[in-house]
Structure formats: structure tokens, C-alpha cells
């Protein structure tokens, strides 16, 4: 469906719908919070029952997430042990495939990860054969790595570019494009020049595209910069006569450090993906670059984000692109690149493609990590502000909701089931984001606090806190599993303090209710309230700093 994925330049009816859907999430979140507070004040008995019903729902939802977090973690550890370069060879050569089959068959049982990995490989191959999609050869596949830059210097960019070189795929088939904002400081421009000089010969090419300011229709957002650079890259490939069907574009944040086999894994997944021209490829983002250099609250918050994405990966039907990810360059061109007037470009590009391809676009999860920086400032207080702003920017993804809903109302080709499924999930995710931590930590206790004589003399007054505490104790099981998995997933700190730091990190999780109120619920509530009142956010670059100069690759 041809659709202008923007909130600007709308006719009267569309503008009305846009405002309605802009108001809906914020209005719902505030209604839930204030409604429960009022209920607790006027009808504490009813409020206590609502709280119990909600807490129980949350507990089961938590169990559900935990089950799939474990499954996803196991899957990640299996896929991490896969040799993607060999897998590509096995895809292209039947002889290699047979050799691998025999090798795996003769492995003892404790090599179960290799056996499962082989089984997954065979399954993907079968799926590809069933769809009769011709598979491109790896030698014809090119990677376009697009890195928007505005304030990031050499200390951030160089480790990232180095990781592309070591990404498990022939660098001569990788084109790196630095999308540099014209308004970037001179020092950054000089750093980018140095980087280009250093790495130009290492890749197929290393381009620097300067994005002019104030182009018509654009706002000061990352998507505008990336779009401008992608259009230049398209011309570059046309000049080189490389067909766009064989190009995979990865739009990375400047601090994105890919894992050792990232490009091999991406190439493999691109090759085995049926209808690869209608797919995005989502790795698991982790925030390990400076994880030990940031305060504890920022650490658990980002691990929480990684875990959320890890769990989401087990449900590809509902998966939406997030942060750094990759996609077919052809699809990107067909959907007319990223929105140039929206902040949340990472998720917006999925919705734009989903609508453009009438619901036939999907996100293909990849069990491979790429690592980014945790937002950090010069001081503890600045870190708090920086993290808060970053989370508010993420939560601003709610701006997609009205645009997507308008498209769903217009589209006849997207199935009703898909519309309901995606629409509800988008809405529910944002409302839950803004309300759940507050409901669980604060609102749940209000009925007891506001209890009048009638309620305080009821059985429910005494039973409600007991039930709530049982629910929270059971939820602690999930927390325990999360702590263990986070310890497994975290990069090793200096060996001398390793044990101490791991214990300390485990204890940091106890602060989760407070952390989630201040750095999850409140930013989300602010973002929704701004959208509700039409006070749109402007793009701000997240401050990122690293203490250590060299970066050891993780996973």
C-alpha cells in the first residue's frame, strides 16, 4: 500500500485520526493510574480486588516471559557455538553438507549444542526448499554498513569499524558508509577523515557522506541523515553495477560493535530466509561496551532491555526491529528509506515496510549479539539524566502508533487478524511500559493506605497484602533466573574483582522496582503525555563514554 508514513501534511480526516490515536495511549495510561488511585480512595475493597487480579496476571506474564527467556538464552548459546562461515559453505556445497552431517552424527551426546545447531540448519534448508526461493551465492552478497555520526569521535568509531573487519565475512564485500551530519563538530569530521584514510583499503569501499542541514521536509532526526546516505550509497552500487537484491544494509549506531561472526551469521540468515526481500534481520542488542563503567541502575536497565529483546526473538510473528539491525537494501529502497521526520527510525522502518508490503514484511531473529554503549555522563547525576533521556526517546516510539493505526484503517490488504494483533501489541506494550512498574510498586498498596474503617475491618484488608506478597515471592523466582542469566551473559570484568562484582551485580537487581519506575515508567509516561498534548519531542543524541580505550569483543 502506498502510504505517507508521517504525521505531517495530512488532510483533515487523517489529521483528526492522527490526533485521536496520539491521545489514546497517554489517555489510557493516565486513566489506569488515576482510575486505580481514585478507586483505592473511594472503593478500596474493589481496588484491592483489581490489584490482586492484575498482580496475578503480571505473575503469569512474568513466568511466560521467563520461560521464553530461558529458551532464547539456550538458543543463543547454541547458535553462538555455530560456525557460520562453515554453514555458508554447507549451504552452497552438497559435499560440505554431507561431511558435516557425518561429523555431527559421530559426535558424542555432550556435543548436543552442535547436534541441535545442525538440526536447525537442516530445518531452515528444508523451509527454503519448500518455498522454492532461489538462494543467492555468498560471493555475490554485499554488505552496506551505514553509520550515522554527529558527535561520536574516534574512540567510539574505531572499535566499531574494527569489529566490521573481524565480522566473519570478507571485508572486500563490505562497504562502510559514514553518514556524517554537516553540523557535526570539526573534530568529529577530522576523526572521520582519519578513519576513512585508515580503513579505505580494508573494505570494498569506505565512504563518507555529509548530510546537508535543513533539507526540505526533513527534521533533525537520525532517519534523515541515514536516508540521505543510503541514497548516495544506492548511486555508488549502481555505478559499480551491483544489483540491490544482493545487498544487505545494516544501519548501526556509531557505538555498535558487532560480534565476531556477525556478518557471517547475517549472510547465512539472509541466504536461508525465504522472501528475503521482505525481511529485516534483528540481532540481540547487548550493552557491554561500557557495562562495568556505568552505575548499577543503568546496568540492570540495559540488561533488562537486552533480555526483553532476547525474549521477543522467540516470537518472530510479533517481532519489531529495534536499535541496530539489518535488512534487504532492495526493501529499503522500495519503501523509500527511513522516515525523515520521526525520531524512532529503528521501529518506524519496520512499520513502514509492513504497511508498504501489505503485512507481508517480517523480522527475522538472529541469535547473534551486537554490543553498544550504555548511555553515560561525566557524573552520576548526568548519567541519570542521560539514561532518562535515552529511555524517553525509546518510549517516543509511541509516535508510530497513530501512524500505524491510520494505515491499518485504510488498508484492505492487511488481514484483520494482523491488524488486531499488531495494533493491540503496539498499544498494550506502550501502556504497560508506562503503567506497570507504578501499578506494581506504588498503586498496589494504595487500597491498604486509604482504607477506611469498613475496609480495614474486612478479611480482604488482611488477605490482600498476603496474596500480594506471595505473588511477589513467586515473582522472585523469575528475578533469580534473570540474575543468573545476566551473570552468564555479562562480559568478564577484571579477574581480580570478578567474583565481588558479580555478587554486587546480583544485588543490584533488588533495586529493580525503583529503577523501573524512574527509568522506564516515568520516561514512557512523559513521552505519551507529550504526544497526547501534541508537544512533540526533538531528537537528542545520547551521550556515551568509555573509560577503557581498547575494547575486547564480547561473544
Amino acid at each position: 500500500m502506498k502510504y505517507q508514513f508521517t504525521r505531517n501534511r495530512l488532510n483533515r480526516r487523517q489529521a483528526f485520526l492522527e490526533r485521536f490515536f496520539q491521545i489514546l495511549p497517554g489517555f489510557s495510561s493516565w486513566t489506569i493510574l488515576l482510575g486505580l488511585a481514585s478507586l483505592a480512595f473511594f472503593k478500596p475493597l474493589w481496588a484491592a480486588i483489581v490489584v490482586i487480579v492484575f498482580d496475578f496476571y503480571w505473575l503469569l506474564r512474568l513466568f511466560y516471559i521467563t520461560v521464553f527467556l530461558i529458551v532464547a538464552y539456550i538458543r543463543l548459546s547454541i547458535e553462538t557455538s555455530s560456525n557460520w562461515e562453515s554453514r555458508i559453505l554447507q549451504l552452497e556445497s552438497e559435499g560440505e553438507r554431507e561431511k558435516e552431517r557425518l561429523r555431527v552424527r559421530n559426535l558424542p551426546w555432550w556435543y548436543w549444542k552442535n547436534k541441535i545447531s545442525w538440526w536447525l540448519f537442516k530445518r531452515k534448508l528444508r523451509l527454503l526448499t519448500r518455498h522454492q526461493t532461489p538462494m543467492p551465492l555468498s560471493k555475490n552478497i554485499y554488505h552496506l554498513v551505514l553509520v550515522p555520526v554527529i558527535r561520536e569521535g574516534l574512540e567510539i568509531l574505531q572499535p566499531s569499524v574494527l569489529s566490521y573487519l573481524e565480522g566473519g565475512f570478507n571485508p572486500r564485500q563490505i562497504v562502510v558508509v559514514i553518514a556524517l551530519e554537516e553540523r557535526a563538530p570539526d573534530s568529529v569530521k577530522r576523526d572521520v577523515e582519519k578513519l576513512q584514510a585508515k580503513f579505505k583499503d580494508s573494505f570494498f569501499d569506505f565512504l563518507v557522506v555529509e548530510h546537508p542541514q535543513n533539507l526540505e521536509g526533513e527534521e533533525s532526526v537520525k532517519g534523515a541523515n541515514a536516508t540521505y546516505a543510503a541514497k548516495q550509497a544506492k548511486r555508488f552500487f549502481e555505478e559499480k553495477k551491483i544489483p540491490v537484491e544482493n545487498i544487505i544494509i545494516s544501519c548501526f549506531d556509531a557505538d555498535t560493535v558487532v560480534s565476531q561472526h556477525y556478518f557471517a551469521c547475517l549472510t547465512y540468515n539472509f541466504m536461508v530466509c525465504p522472501y528475503r526481500e521482505c525481511a529485516s534481520f534483528q540481532p540481540i542488542p547487548v550493552y557491554h561496551n561500557n557495562i562495568w563503567d556505568v552505575p548499577g541502575f543503568a546496568r540492570i536497565l540495559e540488561i533488562g532491555s537486552s533480555f526483553f529483546q532476547l525474549t521477543e526473538a522467540t516470537h518472530p510473528e510479533k517481532l519489531v526491529t529495534f536499535s541496530s539491525h539489518s535488512m534487504s537494501f532492495k526493501a529499503l529502497i522500495e519503501v523509500d528509506y527511513w522516515p525523515i521526520d520521526m525520531i524512532s527510525d529503528d521501529s518506524a522502518i519496520f512499520w513502514k515496510a509492513f504497511i508498504h508490503f501489505d503485512g507481508k514484511y517480517r523480522v527475522y531473529p538472529m541469535y547473534v549479539t551486537l554490543s553498544m554503549d550504555v548511555a553515560v555522563g561525566d557524573s552520576w547525576w548526568k548519567t541519570i539524566k542521560s539514561v532518562y533521556r535515552q529511555k524517553r526517546r525509546w518510549a517516543w516510539g509511541v509516535e508510530n502508533f497513530p501512524i500505524v493505526m491510520r494505515a491499518f484503517l485504510r488498508s484492505n490488504k492487511i488481514s484483520l487478524y494482523d491488524k488486531l494483533r499488531h495494533g493491540f501489541k503496539l498499544f498494550e506494550n506502550h501502556v504497560a511500559w508506562a503503567t506497570w512498574p507504578i501499578l506494581l510498586t506504588v498503586m498496589g498498596w494504595l487500597p491498604v493506605l486509604f482504607a477506611g474503617r469498613e475496609f480495614s475491618n474486612s478479611v480482604l484488608y488482611y488477605n490482600a497484602p498476603r496474596i500480594t506478597s506471595i505473588i511477589f515471592n513467586l515473582a522472585a523466582l523469575s528475578l533469580l533466573i534473570t540474575i543468573v542469566l545476566s551473570l552468564c551473559l555479562l562480559p568478564k570484568k577484571k579477574v581480580k574483582f570478578s567474583f565481588f562484582w558479580r555478587i554486587w551485580h546480583a544485588l543490584e537487581w533488588l533495586a529493580i522496582p525503583i529503577v523501573f519506575i524512574f527509568f522506564s515508567a516515568l520516561p514512557a509516561l512523559e513521552a505519551q503525555t507529550r504526544l497526547m498534548f501534541g508537544r512533540y519531542m526533538e531528537f537528542s543524541v545520547t551521550e556515551k563514554k568509555r573509560k577503557r580505550k581498547s575494547l575486547k569483543r564480547n561473544r
Partner: protein, 495 residues
């Protein structure tokens, strides 16, 4: 993965759909009790009640009927079928406590302030002298102790420092033989006024207690006769309000001057927070200390007449800005909340407690007036404050105190001190605590949970812990608070 997802999803959905009603029913007190199949009414899905028990000291063993519970207080006993239960609690070296309580379906029976008493009270002797009487300065650390009838026999106890110091210093010998005839105190004020008499000479001493010594000021010249009533605002102790024969004088202690006839033709007065309440023949007004800004408090002459018409003299006790009590010479107790008249006659005193409760006493009985907000109890008519007699059949009740956040009343009847529970479900238990010296007053201090009294045999000053310290809610740094309060008073005096 999708299959696994569906299986997990449907299992959890089933758990939620089935589990939620069960959890709600349990939360509301429902349990399932298998029946015998003979039409037993107490079988099937039954709505139960619970009881919450909390004792001082905590950790008491609980018995419900014959059943001993593993939980110790504080505890919630759940899933109790509606009915009446005999409950008993025991604690080593303490008297066992028992009561028959009702359990109602869906309701919680709350017994959250049970005070367990030691089997043997062991008072501590604070001062071994033979005293005749004691007078506390309410809500201050000081107690005035009288060994005899003259002023030289008077000493003070600082309860916090456990230190006794004399009223008169060596230099004030010329008045040592004066007899103490009256003592005036005001709550929260470290000042007191003593009326003295020696043959035909009369004196009035204004005493400021400051930690470990008393500063004495002779203010006799400010008095024009025998006052009926003297009081002062704890935050403005430089002004004394002296009432005699319907005339109110205001004495300024700083420059020792008097403002005579501040108001006259009065039937009573009261002081609260820098304001004077004046009950005249046909009106009641409130004014500031300068006598300006008069505010009429009751405009309805008929109501005024019906309330105040019958008695000539009243003492006025403003307890808050909104709630004022009037006690007539004949013991009629009136108040500013409905139904205005609480007791018709013979009230000898009252104590205002927490939870908006007022304890009043007559010579032979004690009542509690609930001043809560539950006014609409009887159809469409506001019922207002209601009086419940909690003890009767006594003889010579002298003093009543609230204990443990208004859950008990401690009172002195002649020379015996009793403790009575207020929040009960049947007959109120009255426990005899101890005997005190005949004709002396025992004083209970809410601040430290201690009962101060004179030993009946020796007359020594003794103290008995009634409420263990950990149960007393203390505001941070009470001493600092008290000193700050004194400093504030001094500052306001200076102004």
C-alpha cells in the same frame, strides 16, 4: 517454537482463568469445607472471618478454644467459621489474657492493642523520702513532690534525668515556712504557679523549671485577691490570666504590670493558641491577647440559653481550634460538637485521648465520649458524639488516664489504681494494679508509659512501667524538641 509458545500460553491462560476466581474468593474469606452429606450448614463454600491479634509484649502464645496455634503475636488467624470463640494468650511471667470474641463472615476482628500485665508488678523506688503528695506538670519531664505542707518541703523530679532538685534555693529562706495552698499548672509548660499562705500573709510564686533547677519569681503584687482560676498559654508564658468573681485580669510577668478588667461579667474563660475564649452572660466570644479582634462564636441566643442558661460558672477548655469543652461548676459537660451536651451533671474531670476519644469521670463511674466522624448513624439524624459508660459502681474516682493509644484506661479510685480495657467484645475487664498512699494522687505519663505514685507504706516516690518503651511512639529527639519548645516560648515572650 510456536507450538511451545502456544502450549505455554494456553496452560498459563487456563491457570489464570481458573485461578483468579479462587484467589478472589480466598481473598474475600471463602473456603471450601467438605460436608458430611447431612445438610450441614457449615459445609460447602463458606465465608469465613479472621482475627488479628497484637500484644505488648509481642510473642504471646495463642489459644483458640482448646487449640494451640503455632503462630505467636502479632498474628492473623484466618479461615475461622462465623461464631463466638474463646481466645486466650499466654506469655511467660505475665498474666494470661482471655476473651470471648465474635467472628463474622468476611470481617476481621481486630485486637491490636492488647496489653499483657506482669504477674508481679515490681515498682522501682525513685526517691526514698516520705512524701505526702505529687503533682505532675503534664507533658513535661517534671513532677512536683511535697514532703509536707510548706514550701520548703517541695522538691522537683526531672523524670528524664532522674534527678531531684529543691524548689527554693538557699537565698530564699524567708518564705520557707509558707504553706502551699494551691498549685496551678498548664500542659506542655515548664512553669507553675504556687499560692502560699503564712498566717495572714499570702504569696504567689511563679516558678520556671529549667533542667535541674527552679527559678522562682515572687509575683504576689499582681494578685488582687484569691483567684478562682489562673492559667497561661504555654507558648506565651509571660501573660498570666487571672480569673476572680467574673473578672479576668491579664498580668504581664515581664514588666510585672497588670491589665485589670481585661474582661468582666464573665461566666468563664479559656486560653488556646494565643486566643482567649470568653463566656459572658449572653454570648461567647474569642479574642486575641490584646482584646481586639473579637469574634462571636455563637449567634443563636436560644441555643446559647438552652446550653449555658442553667449554670452560672463554667471552665472552658479549648482542645483544638474547632473543639471546645465547657465544664460547669455542677459538673455539666458541654462541647462544640453535636449533641453539645454530653453529660448532665457531676463530671469531675476529663482526659482527651488519641483517636478523638474523651474520657470523663464522675465520683463513681467513668465514660468515654467518641468524637469520631461517623455522624450519620441513626437514619437521617446526625447522632454526633456519643457517651459510653465503661466503668460504674466505683467510689471516689480521682483521676483517669489514657494508656496505649486509647485502648485502655488507667484510673485511681481512692488509694487503688486500676486498668480497664476499652475495646472489648463483652464485659470490660478491670484489673487492679497497685495501691498508692492514701490521699495522694498517682500520675501516669503517656510520654514514658510510667505510673508515678507514692508507696502506701513508706510514702517513697515509686514508678511502675505500664507500657513497655518500645510501644511508645516518640517523636525524634524528644529532649531537643522540648528544649526547642522552651526556646520558642522564650522567643515569643521576648516579642
Amino acid at each position: 517454537m510456536n507450538t511451545l509458545r502456544r502450549i505455554v500460553f494456553y496452560i498459563l491462560l487456563l491457570v489464570y482463568v481458573v485461578g483468579t476466581p479462587f484467589i478472589i474468593l480466598y481473598a474475600l474469606g471463602y473456603i471450601y469445607r467438605p460436608g458430611e452429606g447431612n445438610g450441614d450448614a457449615q459445609s460447602g463454600l463458606i465465608k469465613t472471618g479472621l482475627v488479628y491479634l497484637s500484644t505488648v509484649p509481642p510473642g504471646a502464645q495463642i489459644y483458640l478454644g482448646r487449640k494451640k496455634y503455632p503462630e505467636k503475636t502479632p498474628a492473623v488467624l484466618r479461615e475461622l467459621l462465623p461464631g463466638r470463640y474463646d481466645i486466650r494468650m499466654t506469655y511467660k511471667n505475665y498474666r494470661s489474657w482471655s476473651m470471648t470474641i465474635p467472628i463474622e463472615a468476611g470481617k476481621a476482628t481486630v485486637l491490636d492493642r492488647i496489653l499483657l500485665l506482669p504477674e508481679q508488678l515490681k515498682p522501682e523506688i525513685l526517691a526514698a523520702d516520705r512524701f505526702q503528695n505529687l503533682v505532675t506538670l503534664p507533658k513535661t519531664p517534671y513532677i512536683l513532690l511535697l514532703r509536707g505542707e510548706t514550701v520548703k518541703d517541695a522538691v522537683f523530679l526531672n523524670r528524664e534525668k532522674r534527678m531531684i532538685f529543691p524548689l527554693l534555693s538557699e537565698t530564699e529562706k524567708k518564705i520557707t515556712d509558707f504553706e502551699v495552698t494551691r498549685i496551678f499548672t498548664t500542659a506542655k509548660s515548664p512553669y507553675l504557679l504556687l499560692a502560699l499562705k503564712y498566717q495572714d500573709a499570702k504569696k504567689f510564686l511563679w516558678i520556671h523549671l529549667d533542667g535541674e533547677h527552679a527559678e522562682v519569681q515572687d509575683i504576689s503584687k499582681l494578685f488582687r485577691g484569691e483567684p478562682e482560676q489562673v492559667t497561661w498559654d504555654p507558648s506565651q508564658p509571660r501573660y498570666l490570666w487571672i480569673y476572680r468573681n467574673g473578672v479576668l485580669d491579664r498580668a504581664n510577668l515581664e514588666n510585672e504590670t497588670i491589665f485589670p478588667h481585661f474582661s468582666e461579667s464573665l461566666r468563664g474563660f479559656g486560653i488556646y493558641d494565643k486566643e482567649v475564649y470568653l463566656l459572658a452572660q449572653d454570648s461567647i466570644v474569642k479574642t486575641n491577647f490584646d482584646g481586639r479582634h473579637r469574634q462571636l462564636l455563637l449567634e443563636d441566643p436560644e441555643l446559647f440559653q438552652s446550653l449555658f442558661g442553667a449554670d452560672s460558672q463554667f471552665r472552658i477548655f479549648p482542645l483544638t481550634r474547632k473543639f471546645v469543652l465547657f465544664l460547669s461548676a455542677g459538673g455539666r459537660l458541654l462541647g462544640t460538637k453535636l449533641p453539645y451536651q454530653y453529660v448532665r451533671e457531676k463530671v469531675e474531670g476529663f482526659q482527651y485521648g488519641e483517636s478523638k476519644k474523651l474520657a470523663i469521670w464522675q465520683d463513681d463511674k467513668i465514660g468515654v465520649i467518641h468524637l469520631g466522624d461517623d455522624d450519620l448513624e441513626e437514619g437521617i439524624f446526625e447522632r454526633g458524639a456519643r457517651l459510653t459508660w465503661v466503668y460504674s459502681g466505683g467510689n471516689g474516682i480521682k483521676n483517669v488516664f489514657w494508656v496505649y493509644e486509647g485502648s485502655q484506661l488507667l484510673f485511681q479510685e481512692k488509694d487503688t489504681v486500676f486498668l480497664s480495657e476499652i475495646d472489648t467484645f463483652g464485659e470490660r475487664k478491670v484489673t487492679e494494679l497497685l495501691k498508692v498512699k492514701e490521699d495522694s494522687l498517682a500520675e501516669y505519663s503517656e510520654e514514658d508509659g510510667m505510673l508515678y505514685f507514692l508507696d502506701p507504706q513508706t510514702g517513697a516516690l515509686a514508678v511502675q512501667e505500664i507500657l513497655p518503651k518500645q510501644q511508645i511512639v516518640i517523636f525524634p529527639f524528644p529532649e531537643i524538641e522540648f528544649e526547642r519548645k522552651i526556646a520558642k516560648m522564650a522567643k515569643s515572650e521576648a516579642l
